[in-house]
Amino acid sequence: MNDSFIEMDACQMTKDGMRICGDVFLMERHAASGRIVATLSDGMGSGVKANVLATLTAGMGQRFVLSDADVKKSAEVILNTLPVCRERKISYATFTLADIRTDGTVNLIEYDNPPTLWIRDGAVRKIERTKEHLNRKDAFRPEVLRSAACTLLPEDRLVFCSDGVVQSGMGTAAHPLGWRMEGFERFLEELVRGNPEISAGDMALRVVRRAMANDGYRARDDISCVVAYVRRPRKLLLATGPPFERDWDTQLAGRLAGFKGRKVICGGTTASIVAREWNRPLHVNLKNRTDEVPPSANLEGVDLVTEGMLTLGKTAEILESHKTVSPEETNAAEHLAALLRESDEVSFLVGTRINEAHHNPTLPIELGIRRTLIERIRRSLETLYLKKTDVMYV
């Protein structure tokens, strides 16, 4: 597990007609230990009320797990704390808490969510569970916590979801009782067998899309899927901005050439420098542009070449909004956001030469400062997507 990376990502779809999702997913990587703690909670009902219940539950769940508090006591505190619904006179939110250590050991605590699935070699494996009864005096029905543990090996996956996934399609001719765990498990197994290296984000996206299809493309409940995938880290080098010293141009091109992983260049001048140093042509691809995002370009040996500041600004926005991006997205910022989310370790090589053209008073003030934009992107990647990043200014 030493050279492995645990990628974790989620995809969510809000119930049709609601403006806010009643499922809440939180995850964070503990800086010192590298341990990942994640919580998915489904609040009772839908919309704002459900979101409040789920936000409280997930927030408390994260803190309790990170502080290694007693599981049963923590669950009782969470359930005692939730506000009581005025109509239903009960308080209720489900949760799945996952605590994943860097050595691959996983501890799971589940309360009324569909059971977490463990996938190895294209097949779902059984996870032994122990049940524990809570004895809250205000409970409106028996409450049972399920605890489970397993050890992940490289290429293993963990998948958990809200009931919007397994109950999708309920009442339709194809799924009279919903998709159910059986249908969900079969779908995951086929997906992994057909695409053994599918990323966590792409897998979660495909599950949600399938659940939406089961529901006739109008989600009947909030739909959430979370995937953790243990894999060899996928590396990406993003070079942006010309180096301060012109002597560094050759080194910049050399670093890109020698990098083992995906390569991205953001910035016309930077791309021109690399194309010149490599003596290769640079072709702008006019098909994938919008008014806000200039087109990307093709340079042999580089996975993506984009314009600089506008594209980076838009990419930062996409990452911060947690908008789902799929690899088939077309504009350069969406493409870049998808590549960043698909990667595990992202290195930034940031040139600090001042671009005089950007000091033109007629340019919009929103045009950011390169270093600030890169810091925004790094912060999103590390806190929202649990990626590892490093930066070098040249």
Binding site: T269, S272, L282, V284, D291, P295, A297, G308, N360, L363
Partner: protein, 88 residues
Amino acid sequence: MRTVTVTVCTGTACYILGGSELLTVKEKLPKRYSKYIILQGSSCMNRCGERSEKNRPPYVSVDGEIYGGVDMERLVELIMEAVGGDVC
């Protein structure tokens, strides 16, 4: 009458100061000119730091000749002039 290569700079400054619109020039030209134009983009023409009336973003090149501060009207003129002859 001849085929003309039109290159629009898509670097940051050019793009937000009008280059984005210039990429739609084919829609603004009389239809009969379309087949005489090869429209392409450039990552940066390295001229955007200049700030005189004529030398400012957005930059466009028509058959290799670079023009600054070009708006759509001017680009249409430049293209029609370059294509020349009676286009029908």
